[in-house]
């Protein structure tokens, strides 16, 4: 593109190379999966009881403690001294919720490192 601006100075402006734009960043899964880094913990699912929800044994469970649990949230809570998973509305009112599950990660193949 070639034009003269109002000062009478000619400007050559090609299509900008996006690769030189330092603000450009590749997609980062952290920004998708974790909103609050300080209050988010990762856990590992054991057993296939929750297959029906698409959560399998070995999956990573992402838990954010800073979210106020709503009735339809999946939550981690403590039962018989162990962490377990349920919908909030099924958890006994008197039981403290440990954190709200925001996502799970199921890997079909382990990443090669």
């Amino acid at each position: 593109m070639y034009y003269e601006n109002t000062d009478g100075v000619s400007v050559h402006e090609g299509f900008p190379n996006p690769a030189t734009d330092t603000s450009l960043q590749s997609l980062d899964l952290n920004t998708l999966l974790i909103t609050h880094t300080a209050t988010t913990y990762l856990m590992r699912m054991s057993g296939d009881e929750w297959q029906i929800l698409g959560i399998f044994g070995g999956d990573i469970v992402i838990v954010d403690r800073s979210i106020n649990a709503q009735p339809n949230d999946l939550v981690v809570w403590t039962k018989a001294d162990r962490f377990t998973l349920s919908y909030k509305h099924t958890v006994d009112e008197s039981t403290a919720v440990w954190g709200v599950i925001t996502a799970t990660i199921h890997q079909f193949r382990k990443a090669q490192r």
Binding site: A38, D48, W50
Partner: protein, 459 residues
């Protein structure tokens, strides 16, 4: 200028609280965390304190007691504690950028820029936030000086009625006669600040509590100054606050004068915002078993030197002095301590150079018939990397220093990429005897993919 006001956020039994976060079954049980090498107790749950286990208790003496009283023991899981500490700092920094991270479990906040009507309510909100968001119980002390904030947090921690929060707010000049008025100030202080506790514990006012606080528990007094004060008849925090400023200065220098002013509500210690560049770095350890084996000892010292050197390079510093110490078991007869140090005309952060010096120093006192219990390496007398000065003879070999620096950068970047300790100097890799026993360490829940906490199914 606004009246300064500070909060101290102090984690309760921090290491134990970190362990409990992922072990709900440990609630209400006595728990202790041991130093690396399982040498002594470094953190106790309230239940463990109630059993009379003192801080620093040597583990080998207490083993039977732990067993008899079902005390749950952990080897220190310092990756876990470090990560949780960072999370707490992040949350506090979102409250205000005026933060001084004082230690792994304590931070001061500067509150004078914040609009807060009720400091007690504010403290409770912070306490609840850290508890809900991170899962760690904290105590909060609010006061016009850092020294008082620290005392207030301690007070709040030990008196359940305060619910972990105590505010000593400075109030406007007109005294409200109805409230418990509390003036720490000695009558000589001109612009004294009147301080009003937000709560008083039944039967123990803050005033009385100060009287019950031994002088060595006041922040900045410690074991070194305490005897001097006690010799002058100053045994508790209240007496210290009533010391005449001149007298305090005679006893403790300018620091003493400031300390007394701080106790009277006049702030002398500002928030230290910059990450403090360390004045010395030490890496020490109690061995898994006492040893006289030269190979194991050299390996241990080399590893300490390498770790200290790494830290030095992270801080962009060079050291002029390095030292070694070793001791036999303090609790066995014939306890002995050895120390040697050396001076580098050209300051260095080179792992190879430091390992060589440290091993040399050790050989100056090494005796194969001695069973060493504990050893360590320290580095001191730092200069910033950018200010590499020549010694008086100008004998810096610039080319060699350049090569050394490049080598260190390679080593550090490889270790960063593949995990600490992947590349080591040969001396470091010699023995394993000295490596701490991690037998009782909990999983590194937040720093290792294969050690995450597990969500169980109900069936």
């Amino acid at each position: 200028m606004r009246q300064p006001i500070f909060a101290l956020i102090d984690c309760n039994n921090f290491f134990v609280s970190c362990e409990r976060l992922f072990r709900p079954d440990l609630e209400n049980k006595p728990v202790v965390v041991m130093s690396s090498g399982d040498g002594c107790v470094v953190a106790r749950s309230n239940e463990a304190k109630a059993l009379g286990i003192p801080m620093g208790a040597p583990v080998y003496k207490w083993r039977q007691f732990f067993k008899d009283n079902r005390v749950v023991q952990f080897s220190g899981n310092f990756e876990l504690y470090g990560d949780i500490s960072r999370r707490i700092t992040d949350v506090l920094a979102s409250v205000t950028p005026q933060i001084e991270v004082y230690s792994v479990d304590e931070s001061f906040l500067g509150l004078s820029e914040l609009k807060i009507d009720d400091y007690r309510a504010w403290g409770r909100a912070v306490r609840d936030k850290i508890w809900q968001w991170i899962g760690i119980p904290v105590s909060v002390g609010v006061a016009p000086t850092k020294t008082l904030a620290k005392l207030a947090a301690n007070h709040a921690k030990v008196h359940p009625a305060l619910n972990s929060v105590l505010s000593l707010s400075p109030l406007p000049p007109q005294p409200e006669r109805q409230r418990e008025r509390f003036i720490l100030s000695h009558s000589t202080a001109k612009n004294r600040v009147r301080i009003f506790p937000s709560d008083s514990v039944k039967g123990l006012s803050f005033h009385a509590w100060l009287r019950a606080t031994p002088v060595q528990e006041v922040w900045g007094v410690g074991w070194r100054l305490a005897p001097r004060l006690q010799a002058e008849g100053v045994h508790d925090a209240l007496q210290l606050s009533q010391l005449r400023p001149q007298h305090a200065q005679q006893l403790m220098g300018i620091h003493g004068r400031q300390l007394v002013a701080e106790l009277n509500g006049l702030s002398c210690y500002p928030l230290e915002r910059e990450g403090k560049a360390q004045k010395s770095i030490a890496r020490t350890r109690t061995f898994g078993e006492d040893t006289g084996d030269i190979g194991s000892l050299e390996a241990a010292l080399a590893s300490f030197a390498a770790k200290a050197a790494f830290r030095l390079r992270v801080d962009h510093q060079l050291a002029r002095r390095a030292g070694v110490f070793a001791t036999t078991n303090k609790h066995k007869p014939g306890y002995q301590v050895w120390r040697r140090e050396t001076y580098f005309p050209v300051p260095t952060a080179d792992t190879g150079k430091l390992i060589a010096s440290v091993v040399d120093l050790f050989h100056k006192f090494y005796n194969p018939h001695v069973k060493y219990h504990r050893a360590g390496v320290w580095l001191q007398d730092f200069v910033p990397v950018d200010h590499l000065q020549t010694d008086v003879f100008g004998s810096v070999n610039v080319a060699a220093e350049g090569r050394s620096k490049a080598r260190m950068q390679t080593l550090d970047s490889i270790n960063e990429r593949f995990g600490r300790g992947k590349i080591r100097y040969a001396a470091e890799a010699l023995g394993n005897k000295w490596e701490p026993k991690h037998r009782l360490r909990s999983p590194r829940y937040v720093t290792r993919w294969n050690e995450l906490p597990v969500v169980h199914t109900l069936k």
